[in-house]
């Protein structure tokens, strides 16, 4: 019995192989004759790879992983967001290539000086893909779904991002949104329980995209497979672990957009294999380029290399509770002994910018007045001598075991720094362990010197400085165990300050203190590489990690 099944399968495969071989010769002639269920589907992935009808602009996007769900409220991964933010839109959006807030589904908005009331004036004449109208009721409907645990459409697992960004759900003590009020058909008002500085920035995040209430009610938990929004593209099909296809929304409110007729997101897990696919013309754009491959892309005139503006930081830090790192002169000395330009050149293949502050330059409140310490071993030695270590000392240097976007190779980078530290008398032993243990032990403060980094997610300075260096986060994100009362007070004040200019000043002050005290030595802001065919136009990499594709065009 078993044998027969096997031989049947084998002959099936043979037939398939023959059919496919026939295909390559004459496109249509060899339609597979036997009607095995899997076969038409097997052929499907090839179709999008063709350029399609003449004149139709199809962009094939190669990426490392598949989407988890297409219901943006339920997800927190970039590969899902990459697709959903082209199908569904948020009230406000981020401008091309920066974290600046620009109108989205809301044309304009008024903020009450108290910071407790936001009134949004919605865009008129916008329709969901299912033909229903986008209006204030739809906005309220979506927010009710997210914030009210008793709402029938509330996910049983909750909405992680909503919880994180808006302080829990309705009824929780720290919940930010008191009420969403429909003022008239195109005006919606948000009443807040407490003022929240990054409120607008949060509303622009992909999880808070407005979905069609009709589709939500009809699809219920299946919405994640059949997303319906107002976006420039409509959902066509999703073959798990292979591709997702979206196509132009002919009724999009901006008549000039989108430029493309179709976008196919194709999964190719291996970074090098994805580059090969790009080189052979199978895909048009890819993200997740290995830094080492940047040269190859640059050298190929058919391709273009783009870099994503950095929203991360890779740094060297200490446990400032341990001797000798409790002395700021020692930390300053080490900062002088880190050759940032050389490290960036060597370990990021130049796809990074040497870092001065702990937050990347595109964020609000970045202090560009601070001039970085130069690489100067003499000064380092001098500072060490002042601190009472003229002959240096011995210590352990923890390096992470896995490649991270912000530090592509921790071990080797540590080795390179080790050479320079040796020159100022600091003998380091490089220590490593598996990633989970590394994170856990550094959280407990078992390290002496260590390498780590951070990827920001909502583009707010609080998301960097407060998380990494506030005394409230010792035992959490503050692995440096840095406690500075002045910094703490400034950060708390900045959290509730609504005026961006004043807020910016507070963060600038904090960065000055941090630069002097050196709880961390910022090394680099990595700029992840994106490669595309030269014919792809208007693709502007965005710091948040994914792009709105409506303006992208092809020649």
């Amino acid at each position: 019995m078993k044998k027969r099944v096997l031989s049947a399968a084998f002959s099936g495969m043979l037939a398939l192989a023959l059919a496919l071989a026939g295909c390559s010769g004459s496109q249509q002639a060899a339609q597979p004759s036997d009607n095995q269920g899997g076969q038409p589907e097997q052929k499907q992935p090839q179709q999008p790879a063709e350029t399609g009808k003449t004149g139709e602009k199809v962009l094939i996007y190669g990426r490392g992983g598949d989407t988890v769900s297409l219901d943006p409220a339920t997800i927190d991964d970039g590969e899902s967001a990459r697709v959903t933010e082209n199908i569904m839109e948020t009230l406000v959006e981020y401008a091309d290539g920066t974290m600046e807030i620009v109108p989205g589904l809301a044309e304009k908005w008024d903020i009450d000086p108290s910071g407790l009331k936001y009134t949004f004036h919605l865009r008129k004449g916008v329709k969901f893909h299912d033909g229903t109208d986008f209006n204030a009721e739809a906005v309220k409907f979506n927010f009710e779904r997210w914030m009210d645990k008793n709402n029938p459409l509330h996910s049983p697992e909750g909405f992680a991002y909503y919880n994180d960004m808006f302080g829990g759900y309705k009824g929780d003590p720290d919940h930010v949104i008191k009420e969403v009020k429909v003022v008239d058909e195109y005006t919606v008002e948000f009443d807040l329980n407490r003022s929240q500085a990054p409120f607008l920035a949060n509303l622009g995040m992909f999880p808070f995209a407005i979905a069609s209430p009709k589709a939500l009610q009809e699809q219920k938990e299946k919405f994640g497979e059949h997303p319906v929004g107002t976006g420039p593209f409509t959902f066509v099909e999703w073959q798990r672990n292979d591709h997702i296809t979206i196509e132009k929304n002919p009724d999009y409110w901006n008549k000039d957009l989108p430029k493309l007729d179709k976008v196919v997101f194709k999964v190719i897990p291996d970074n090098s294999a994805r580059l090969t696919a790009l080189q052979s013309g199978e895909i048009d754009v890819m993200d997740g380029l290995n830094p080492e491959d940047a040269e190859t892309v640059k050298a190929n005139s058919d391709l273009q290399l783009m870099t994503r503006p950095p929203m991360n930081i890779g740094f060297l830090s200490f446990n400032v509770e341990k001797k000798p790192f409790d002395d700021k002169r020692v930390r300053q000395a080490i900062a002088y002994a880190v050759n940032k330009p050389a490290l960036v050149e060597a370990f990021y293949s130049g796809l990074a910018m040497p870092a001065v502050n702990i937050m990347p330059p595109i964020l609000l409140g970045y202090n560009d007045q601070i001039k970085d310490r130069e690489f100067n071993l003499e000064k380092a030695k001098q500072l060490l001598a002042e601190a009472g270590y003229p002959d240096g000392f011995k210590t352990k240097f923890w390096a992470m075991p896995v490649p991270r976007p912000y530090i592509p190779n921790g071990q080797k980078m540590a080795e390179a720094m080790q050479q320079d530290f040796k020159k100022i008398g600091i003998e380091t032993e490089i220590v490593t362990m598996d990633w989970a243990t590394y994170l856990d032990k550094t959280k407990k403060g078992e390290q002496e010197m260590y390498l780590l980094g951070w990827n920001g997610d909502n583009g707010d300075p609080d998301n960097f400085i407060y998380v990494l260096l506030d005394k409230n986060n010792i035992g959490g994100g503050n692995r440096t165990r840095y406690a500075n009362e002045e910094v703490h007070q400034l950060l708390l004040k900045a959290q509730t300050e609504v005026d961006p200019a004043k807020r910016s000043e507070l963060y600038k002050k904090v960065q000055e203190i941090l630069f002097d005290e050196v709880p961390v030595v910022p090394i680099a802001h990595a700029e992840p590489g994106i490669a595309a065919k030269a014919s792809v136009k208007n693709y502007i990499p965005h710091p948040k990690g994914t792009e709105y594709l409506k303006k992208v065009d092809m020649e």
């Binding site: 490290l343 050149e345 540590a414 080795e415 050479q419």
Partner: protein, 297 residues
């Protein structure tokens, strides 16, 4: 007289053979070209290791980061690695590490393994039972996995890698000696020694051990080769030598992401490992032919 002469000559020759089996073995070995080639390689690498500070033109742990992954040149004969360190100096110092790990770990296994083997073989009964079962258990694991497990417990370092390699090779020698002792025990000279009232220790160390030396030396030499490979494997997995120590296996693994851009960072450590291992294997084979009486025609 003629009769006397014919008897004395073979007697003399026999006496000669008994008195200097080592010289005899050396004579056989010297005629074995491959073995001599192997010996040449070993001597070469030992010389390199001993003279490392003289030969190396740069320190092995310092380099210019901006001078990284440069191809071989007059300045850097073997090029530079990803940290801009001179590959030639690293290879030269690496010889010290590999030879040291290879020989010392094998000597360690020989000492422990022989002792256990002698005890097991000589006393038999429950001692044999216990020791042999331990050997069985150890041999039930693929040796490199066992080494990885040991290093994982002790923590990754060159010393612990050496220890792990020594441990995994113990049963090889233990079994060898045990079977040798079991057969020697039945020999008449051992019986005689027992009858004369010699102590166990004296029998073990004066009769059994010297008579087991030949197979130990042969297996030991071959084992040095595998030990070097195992050390390189552990280094490759990041479980052996820690940076900046210039261990060949570690150098290989560090170089693997630059294999297209800077192949020399991989080629030279690879060749070095291959040559030393080849050297020990050739000598080991030659020794077996020379020493093992069963191989003699």
């Amino acid at each position: 007289m003629a009769e006397v002469e014919t008897t004395t000559v073979p007697l003399n020759r026999a006496a000669e053979e008994v008195s200097s089996p080592w010289r005899d073995a050396w004579r056989t070995l010297r005629k074995n070209r491959m073995a001599m080639l192997g010996l040449g390689i070993i001597v070469f690498f030992v010389a390199v290791a001993l003279l490392a500070p003289v030969i190396a033109r740069y320190p092995y742990d310092e380099g210019e980061l901006l001078n990284r992954n440069k191809p071989p040149s007059a300045e850097h004969w073997f090029g530079t690695d990803y940290n801009g360190r001179d590959m030639f100096s690293r290879i030269v110092y690496g010889a010290r590490i590999s030879l040291w790990v290879g020989t010392s770990s094998v000597i360690g296994s020989i000492v422990v393994g022989s002792l256990l083997g002698l005890l097991a073989g000589f006393y038999g009964r429950w001692i044999d039972m216990l020791i042999s079962r331990i050997f069985d258990i150890m041999l039930a694991f693929p040796s490199i996995l066992l080494a990885i497990a040991i290093v994982a417990i002790l923590g990754p370092s060159l010393r612990n890698a050496l220890l792990a390699i020594a441990i995994i090779n113990v049963p090889t020698f233990g079994r060898l000696i045990r079977s040798r002792v079991m057969s020697l025990k039945e020999e008449e000279f051992v019986m005689a020694a027992k009858a004369l009232g010699m102590t166990d220790a004296r029998i073990i160390f004066h009769h059994l051990l010297p008579n087991s030396l030949a197979p130990i030396i042969v297996t030991g030499t071959l084992c040095v080769a595998t030990a070097i490979i195992e050390a390189a494997a552990l280094g490759f997995l990041g479980l052996g030598a820690q940076p900046p120590e210039p261990e060949w296996g570690k150098m290989l693994s560090d170089a693997k992401e630059y294999i297209q851009k800077a192949p020399w960072t991989m080629i030279f450590p690879g060749i070095s490992i291959m040559l030393t291992v080849l050297g020990f294997n050739l000598v080991g084979d030659g020794l077996r032919d020379a020493i093992d009486p069963r191989m003699k025609n």
